[in-house]
């Protein structure tokens, strides 16, 4: 309500100020007011009013400055005269009403509102202005009474709902505020964004009540959509979709389509799988309501959202629909087929993926085809199908292919070739995670001087395939086979696998770390000691962990692991709060 009054004042200044200022001293009044000379400003405004009794700009100036100098009573006569002279001017009526309220003349205010309401029986303005005036005097109870009276008199359910909602919000009654906003958006759907923006500030404890009101059985569709928007903002996408889905049959279709698009965009900002999934659901429904040219793109976007959510079951039919849609542009159909191929790779259906890539043939660009082939090769490597993986990379001379060939060589136990290929691929191939994996593997390979070790390759492949138990067994055997310089780093890796497996293997992990700390030297021992300390923390032995971390920091001060060890040390001592 305060905003509307400020806007009124600003509008009055813009509309009347420049036109009347030079002749009638309004400009001088503004200047004096800005300087804090309220008495001087009052004189200047009065001068204007003397020659132009209905000059709203000057009257509003007086309304601002007179209370500052304890002369508010002087405004009454001027406001009454102005309202008499221009009896249809709403702004002058409102000014007189505020003056009555400010001076405590409740009966006069009441009479004025009655006259005003009689002249405009369908207008809520008299009650709104009266409530604003009362609120300015901190009479929130009076303001609420007037707004409710206005609603009864005007006779429309949503009348003055926004003003009542603001009052509820001020008294921290968010449930009632939601009730009023539900009425407001039902009466005027353009208020939905404002409703969501205001109710979004509801404290955690009251959000449940707000949602209950907005999404209750029989609540208008606009209110339920506001509830869905709030739920999205509060990171509850599944509930948001449930609330929204209940409004899909509400007419008109164009409005539903628009709301679906908006919902999907908001859900897209939610990075969780659930958020992406409901984005996909919304786009899919959107596609059913819009013309075909928009629908195809929407279905592709829906499929992408499902893929982001790792919801293959939803993504597959959405993509298949686009891929098989003869009316869709060729480019989008191919895009859909490529996406299906990627999906097959990710879900491990490698034979089917290979067939799809072959079927795509020249239709897909060379770059896309190679990228799909490389993704297939990586999946084949991880599945242990090393020969097929190598075949799938035939003719690909990219650094990504080189990196994948490096993994093939490594898993075959050809350490020399793996080292060379990884080094040549450098830090540019693949994602950040792939680069990190490769760099850690290079670090391991450079400590093992053997040219070949089938056992080590097999152990690392088992690890890549997620078979930790087999990996541990194989790595322990590999550690016994490799040359003595490489033994500690393989033992360290085996220890890390054992620690990750946990349970009965913790003692084995501890023994492996201990042996590496004793014999590993500066390059491996710090990592073993850090891993050992973490194992001890996990086992609840903070004191033991502290001993190792302190030993690490003091013994290997130049190790790159020292900052990490200090942080663990702080954690173990409780110097860093848990968050």
């Amino acid at each position: 309500m305060r905003r509307s009054r400020s806007a009124l004042v600003a509008a009055a200044l813009i509309a009347f100020g420049p036109r009347l200022a030079p002749a009638q001293s309004v400009g001088a009044g503004f200047n004096l007011e800005r300087q804090g000379n309220y008495a001087g400003a009052a004189d200047a405004y009065r001068l204007t009013v003397a020659s132009d009794p209905t000059n709203l700009s000057a009257l509003l100036g007086l309304e601002r400055v007179l209370p500052q100098i304890g002369r508010q009573g002087e405004l009454l006569g001027l406001a009454q005269r102005a309202a008499r002279m221009d009896s249809t001017n709403v702004d002058l009526r409102a000014l007189l009403l505020r003056t009555y309220v400010a001076l405590g003349e409740g009966d006069s205010a009441d009479a004025l509102v009655k006259r005003w309401a009689a002249a405009s029986p369908t207008s809520e303005a008299p009650y709104r202005e009266w409530a604003i005036a009362l609120e300015d005097q901190s009479d929130l109870i009076g303001a609420r009474r007037v707004l409710l009276l206005g609603r009864t008199k005007v006779g429309r359910p949503g009348v003055l709902a926004i003003e009542l909602a603001e009052l509820d919000e001020r008294s921290a009654d968010w449930e009632d505020a939601a009730r009023e906003w539900a009425l407001a958006v039902a009466a005027d759907r353009r208020q939905s964004a404002a409703a969501a923006s205001v109710l979004d500030r509801a404290p955690l404890e009251q959000r449940g009540a707000v949602i209950k009101v907005l999404t209750a059985e029989g609540a208008p569709a606009a209110a339920r959509r506001v509830g869905a928007t709030l739920l999205l903002g509060w990171h509850r996408p599944d509930q948001a979709w449930t609330a929204f889905a209940g409004t899909l049959d509400a007419p008109p279709v164009s409005e539903t389509a628009y709301a679906l698009r908006e919902f999907a965009d908001r859900a897209g900002a939610e990075p969780t799988r659930q958020g992406q999934r409901v984005r996909g659901l919304a786009l899919d429904r959107f596609a059913a309501l819009v013309p075909p040219e928009l629908a195809v793109r929407a279905r592709m976007d829906a499929a992408q959202a499902f893929l982001n959510a790792r919801d293959v079951a939803e993504a597959r039919p959405a993509l298949a629909k686009v891929a098989g849609d003869s009316t869709a542009p060729a480019g989008i159909r191919i895009e859909a087929r490529e996406a299906v191929a990627r999906l097959e790779i990710e879900s491990g259906a490698l034979d089917s993926a290979a067939a799809m890539i072959a079927a795509l043939g020249e239709a897909a660009g060379a770059g896309v085809r190679e990228e799909l082939s490389r993704a297939l090769a990586r999946a084949l490597v991880n599945a242990g199908a090393l020969d097929r993986a190598e075949a799938s990379l035939a003719g690909d001379s990219s650094v990504d292919a080189m990196a994948t060939r490096g993994w093939i060589a490594l898993y075959r136990g050809d350490l020399v070739t793996a080292r060379r290929l990884f080094r040549d691929a450098g830090p540019y191939a693949g994602s950040r995670e792939e680069v990190t994996d490769r760099v850690s593997t290079i670090a391991l390979l450079y400590q093992v001087s053997d040219a070949k070790s089938a056992r080590l390759g097999a152990g690392l492949l088992a690890l890549a395939r997620g078979d930790s138990a087999a990996a541990l067994d194989t790595l322990l055997r590999a550690a016994a086979e490799v040359d003595s310089a490489g033994r500690p780093v393989v033992r360290l890796l085996a220890g890390q696998v054992a620690a990750a497996l946990g349970g009965g293997r913790d003692s084995l992990a501890g023994a492996l770390f201990a042996s590496v700390v004793r014999s590993g030297g500066n390059s491996v021992a710090p990592a073993a000691e850090l891993a050992w300390a973490r194992l001890l923390v996990r086992q609840g032995d903070a004191a033991g962990a502290v001993t190792h971390l302190e030993h690490l920091v003091l013994t290997y001060p130049d190790s790159a692991l020292v900052p990490e060890a200090r942080r663990e040390l702080d954690r173990a001592k409780g110097a860093i709060p848990k968050s």
Partner: protein, 433 residues
Amino acid sequence: MKRRDFVRTLGAGVVLPSVGAFRLGLFASSPHSDTSLLVPMDDAQTDHLKAYGIVYRVVQAGIKSEWLLNYRGGSFLLPDGDAIRRDAALNGVAVEAVDPSRVTAIRGEIEASNADAVPLEKSPKIAVYVPPNDPPWDDAVTMALQYAGIPFDKVWDPEVIGGALHRYDWMHLHHEDFTGQYSKFYLIYPGSGWLRDMVQFNQAAAKQLGFTTVPDLKKAVARGIRDYVSNGGFLFAMCTATETIDLALAAHGVDIAAAFADGSPIDPDCDAKLDWSQAFAFTGAHVEPDPGVASFSDIDGHQVNAPTRRQPLGAFKLFNFSAKIDPVPTMLVQSHRDVIPDFYGLTTSFMRTRLKPADTILADEEGAPWVKYIHGELGKGTWTFFGGHDPEDAQHEIGDPPTDLSLHPHSPGYRLILNNVLFPAAKKKELKT
């Protein structure tokens, strides 16, 4: 505390649970007897905050150290020793071994510039005033002490009313609302479980300690803290505690708490009845009479929770004092940065017009009507008020995770807090200059 106790304290687990090398004794096995260790506090320092912990522990061991005010960001000069080097290495604190000739040169530089060397001789015993429940906000001082490894005790109303404060040299207050209105949180967080707990704990404490209302209890606690300072205690307060302790002190016998807190409305003439002679720092303030406005008075310049009054954040600048003439304020502003980004709290800053004439302004925002960091004396003690909640979380909100100081080891805002912790360690005669 003697050297033997230092070894024992370090082994006791509060600061460093692992004792190994300390059992060797601090100096007995030291091969560095004619060198000293300089703890640089300029940009060469690798962990400014933990450096204070190192110095605290050295002083706690009864070993004299020096604070080189305005020399390389307020560096410290310590005797050399294996245990100190070890402590520094473990904590990632940079130290530089300096031979006697270099020490002489440093002293020469100090003599010739606006710098001074202040002996540190007794580590203060620290109390932090915190409620017994677990409030959902962090406390910058507690976090700084924990991160630096400086031990402290927690005290609350029963300890203050029971007269236990005399056991401590230094006391910290943070988020407490001494007007007894629970920081007016009901306006923003009505129905919250933690707020319910807060009300319950405070009402139970008032009843247990023989007070009719929580505001009455808090006024008595405020007076207890005032007595503690008068008798020689060092008080450091941040956030709401700064403003509300003064309001509570000035309002002895005057109702400034809304009806929800004590069952009776605020005295409409309370402004005229406040006795500011009882307050530490402020005078002539106007109490916020509206229980619906999340503000206590017009002392705070930023009014963070009163939307129509809220002011944006700027940056505050530390004053440059004369180290030789004003060692106390100089100690409190030692930093490697002069200008520090501001941060909100329920009380963020202090209006210049509300300061007492004797207050020393340590930092302000140039051109703004408010200051950030002030200091003064009361009786035999001193107080320091620092506006805002968390120097590394400018918009800290209730429920936010606590700040991880290992990610802010060079925080100049947190340094100011730790200056305060160490300042009572300075030799008494230095403090009295």
